[in-house]
């Protein structure tokens, strides 16, 4: 089932051709590798553009991650785990 998380996470990120992409992140002591980005969208909050990604992780879970440029930091907003 889906779980709302909203935890800041440490993230290894790539910046290629002006695009930011999540590569792997640490959550609850585990390092989760991003196997595939399954969706991307953004949301404007005032002048800031928050970038969201839905990803498949190296285990069986899927996750929704948000890059908040104001801090800047990555947030794990939602997770689906067995």
């Amino acid at each position: 089932m889906f779980e709302s998380i909203n935890d800041p996470v440490d993230m290894l990120t790539s910046f290629v051709d002006g695009r930011v992409e999540p590569l792997r992140f640490q959550w609850r002591g585990r390092v989760i590798r991003v196997r595939k980005i399954t969706g991307r969208w953004s949301r404007r909050d005032g002048q800031s553009l928050l970038r969201y990604f839905s990803v498949e992780g190296s285990g069986s879970g899927t996750y929704e991650l948000c890059f908040d440029p104001r801090v800047p930091r990555w947030i794990l907003s939602r997770a689906w785990t067995e």
């Binding site: 399954t38 969208w41 005032g46 800031s48 839905s54 498949e56």
Partner: protein
């Protein structure tokens, strides 16, 4: 002469179970499973979208979640994310624009695309539609049904005739073959009330409407009578309005299903204030003013009442909208528990043409204050400033759209007066 040879075909792209399909695409483990998109699944609410896998269980959009859980307890209940669906919808519009500049968004999950040129025919437009359908599936992993026809009416009805993943192309004759035997309510633009009136006149099918005498239709339905008859013949000259031309809004409203049935006046007024604030903010951000305010209430028996009041002046002021909305609630609410509240502004006009510059300093001050609030929200986000009256309910109102308020706890002032 050359222009006369130009031909136009219209595509209507209708995303199948859009919100649920987006969730299935973004979370591949949900693919092929029954998925119900809703508000917070731990709270009470309604089904926002149901995937095709859940529909055989009788679950449909708009149904209370409790009922959906009884019908399909093993479905995946996913909290909807309007920002995400709007973003995907905009990505799809970009894709459609690569085919043609004539793209008219019809809703968050539907758009008309006009194809024009001397070589455009129904089969060639259908081939474009097939390739577009494939691209949507490959790039976004989303299913779409597409209708193709010489006008918007036929394209729209063709798209609805085969779902999901349908592709239906029709000319006027094929439209008549397909739809004349069907119930008149299947015709786009004929709702349940109109259909009941038609049936009382002996018009049961689309074909009956196509052959109904003009005077009868004119007498019964006025100016729209002949238009309905044209529609029954598959004729429609409604122009396609590309979104860069813009369309004037007719109304703007917000509504919310309350977290639990509620008869607490303070809570309801706080909710009404928050909704009024959202409506007025939207009016201002899109440059409109309104002179009609309506309130929508729904009770436990799902009886829905909408009451409206015309104002003496145009406004985009949340305090005035709230005062009128609260008055309407007081006059029409019998004190029974409510499950839904809504506020809507209609009778819209563009603000620059409608608002007479006030000579009164107080009004100028109010307008300056609103502008300042808007500038702060534009810079820091929608929830950087909210009316104090709705803050007394900040935790309870977190479900209100765009109302993700601070999680910092406040003392409970549930019975405080939520004045704006």
């Amino acid at each position: 002469m050359q222009a006369a040879c130009k031909r136009r075909m219209i595509l209507l792209i209708d995303m199948d179970a859009f919100f649920a399909s987006v969730e299935q695409a973004h979370h591949p483990h949900l693919a092929g499973k029954p998925v119900i998109v809703c508000g917070d699944p731990s709270r009470r609410g309604v089904v926002t979208a149901a995937s095709y896998e859940v529909r055989p269980f009788g679950v449909a959009a708009g149904m209370p979640l409790q009922q959906a859980r009884r019908l399909c307890p093993h479905a995946e209940y996913v909290e909807g994310n309007p920002d995400k669906y709007v973003a995907v919808s905009l990505q799809l519009l970009d894709l459609y624009q690569s085919l043609s500049p004539d793209v008219e968004p019809f809703s968050v999950d539907e758009a008309f695309v006009g194809l024009e040129g001397r070589s455009v025919t129904l089969p060639s437009a259908a081939a474009v539609a097939r390739s577009l359908q494939r691209e949507i599936a490959e790039r976004y992993r989303l299913p779409a049904s597409i209708g193709v026809g010489p006008n918007k009416l036929i394209a729209k009805m063709a798209a609805g005739s085969r779902k999901p993943r349908g592709l239906t192309a029709m000319d006027e004759q094929a439209f008549r073959n397909e739809f004349w035997p069907r119930e008149v309510q299947k015709l786009w633009g004929v709702g349940p009330k109109l259909a009941t009136r038609m049936r009382s006149l002996g018009i049961s099918t689309v074909g009956d409407l196509a052959h109904a005498p003009d005077p009868v239709l004119k007498q019964a339905f006025g100016i729209i009578g002949p238009q309905l008859k044209d529609a029954a013949w598959g004729r429609d000259d409604t122009p396609l309005v590309p979104f860069y031309q813009g369309v004037d809004a007719k109304s703007m409203g917000h509504e919310v299903t309350l977290p639990e049935d509620c008869s607490d006046t303070g809570f309801l007024e706080g909710s009404l204030l928050r909704l009024s604030d959202q409506v007025s903010r939207r009016l201002r951000s899109e440059g409109y003013v309104s002179r009609v305010v309506s309130v929508k209430i729904r009770n436990l028996r799902f009886e829905t009442f909408i009451r409206q009041r015309a104002l003496g002046e145009f406004t985009d002021d949340h305090a005035l909208i709230y005062r009128v909305a609260r008055g309407l609630l007081e006059e029409n609410w019998k004190g029974e528990p409510l499950r839904l509240l809504g506020v809507c502004a209609s009778g819209l006009a563009k603000s620059e043409s409608a608002v007479q510059h006030s000579l009164f300093r107080r009004f100028e001050r109010d307008a300056c204050c609103r502008q300042a609030i808007d500038r702060i929200r534009d810079r820091l986000g929608e929830v950087s400033l909210v009316p104090a009256g709705s803050l007394t309910h900040r935790r309870d109102l977190s479900h209100v759209p765009f109302g993700t308020l601070s999680s910092r706890p406040l003392p409970d002032h549930r019975h405080a007066d939520p004045s704006p």
